[in-house]
Symmetry: C2
Subunit: 267 residues, 2 copies
């Protein structure tokens, strides 16, 4: 067991940087997970754990969790209480953290997409709380995986991980720098692409036929999907609403669209 007492320890400084900066996470290929339950979800996911860090109190209080996490981690590190806030982005850190290897760009590449499934793709989604919420709902409804297109907020950042309640560790995720880059993969696998748009002339989602080779695309919170993305999709789809449509936020829209993709499938 390694012990770290100083807030100026170089390793702690490095980890603190990973918590604050998406660039550092992706440059170093590592990210930090906070909270006993979320760390256990990471340990169970098959991702490679570099280290588990816990304050003495947290190690005692969450001993069952910390034991399970430590069994999967290369290093176990005891940290002083004063270090926890440096690794946390919450007001009252629980005191349990782990350092996890990011799946490589290849592992997450869009060309790894299996041919069969019902997928949600998000394009340029900016709010990590929305991204996390969408992943939770996708997991609950049995969506096959999530595809991140363009420049979304960081899937492995602290806010998205927390809002996702571990869905990020269980849900297959694929990335592409743009929809254009992903199109050949969808065509090759004969997957039908649906562009969700706030347009009364699009096909109501209740009238769409979804098969086990489909992708629903939802766009940025303020601006929706890019015009060129809508243009290249097989079909536009919309949520018919009786009320004030501008009140439906990105996470609620995605919930309804995913629900309709899966509706009736369960039996």
């Amino acid at each position: 067991m390694i012990r770290i007492q100083s807030r100026k320890n170089e390793y702690i400084k490095e980890l603190s940087g990973l918590v604050r900066s998406s660039e550092k996470r992706h440059a170093q290929g590592l990210f930090v997970v906070e909270g006993a339950r979320l760390c256990r979800d990471a340990a169970r996911s098959g991702l490679k754990l570099e280290a588990v860090l816990a304050t003495p109190q947290a190690a005692e209080k969450y001993s069952a969790y910390v034991g399970e996490i430590a069994a999967k981690a290369k290093e176990s590190i005891e940290i002083a209480d004063s270090i926890a806030p440096l690794l946390s982005d919450t007001r009252s850190p629980q005191g349990v953290f782990c350092v996890v290897h990011l799946p490589s760009l290849e592992e997450r590449g869009i060309d790894r997409l299996p041919g069969v499934g019902r997928y949600l793709a998000v394009e340029n989604m900016q709010d990590p709380a929305n991204l996390g919420a969408v992943c939770r709902t996708a997991e609950a409804l049995g969506i096959s995986g999530v595809i991140l297109l363009g420049t979304c907020c960081d899937f492995y950042g602290p806010k998205a991980l927390r809002a996702g309640m571990g869905a990020a560790f269980r849900l297959p995720v694929y990335m592409a720098s743009s929809f254009q880059q992903a199109v050949p993969v969808f065509r090759d696998k004969q997957m039908r692409t649906f562009a969700a748009v706030p347009d009364e002339n699009a096909v109501p989602v209740t009238q769409c036929v979804f098969t086990d080779r489909c992708v629903m695309l939802v766009g940025n919170e303020g601006n929706g999907l890019l015009p060129e993305t809508i243009e290249m999709c097989d079909q536009t789809v919309t949520i018919p609403m009786l009320g004030r449509a501008e009140s439906l936020n990105a996470a609620a829209s995605a919930s309804i669209l995913m629900w309709e993709m899966m509706r009736g499938k369960e039996g």
Copy 2:
């Protein structure tokens, strides 16, 4: 135009108390709304506005909003920049606020419920962000109104108002101290009550028949509906899911349930 410069002004202290305390809001029958757009939504809602307060910069920047709000308010007050944080629960206050009269308990009473409509009722919902999100979605989908049962978080608190994006001012809302208190009203108006439960033996929401006299009840984020409430409802209903059901959060569940209540109605 009144000007207030001092952070120790008695009226400002009183308003600051309203922002921080649900008890004070309900004791005084007043609440504070923050932000130009939300204040305008309040002004347009027909609620009585006691005052609009703005910093000089905000009054200039949001002059169209502030003008419209001031036309509906008894008093217009210019406040020093240093006062804005006392009235705000955000990190960077915009500098526009208004003071609004709470609808009376009578106006919000469950016995004011019209006979016809499709309503959402929430019982003991604790998280204001969830309550706000649920109201937004209800408004978008054309739900007739929201019924607050038991001890929910404050509908008129700053977090719920912000998350609701003004839906609180446009959506009819009714309150009852418990489901038991509301039952005679539902029976009298021949409204069918549906209890949403995570129970595979309940009727799948896709198989429920919703008419224009119905109420969907959703419960507390952690514990769901009270057993006695479920017992007294006409029918239990569940969301059939292929995935990990515990991942569906309260706001996403409510979105799907409301969607199903309204599904097909629009066309």
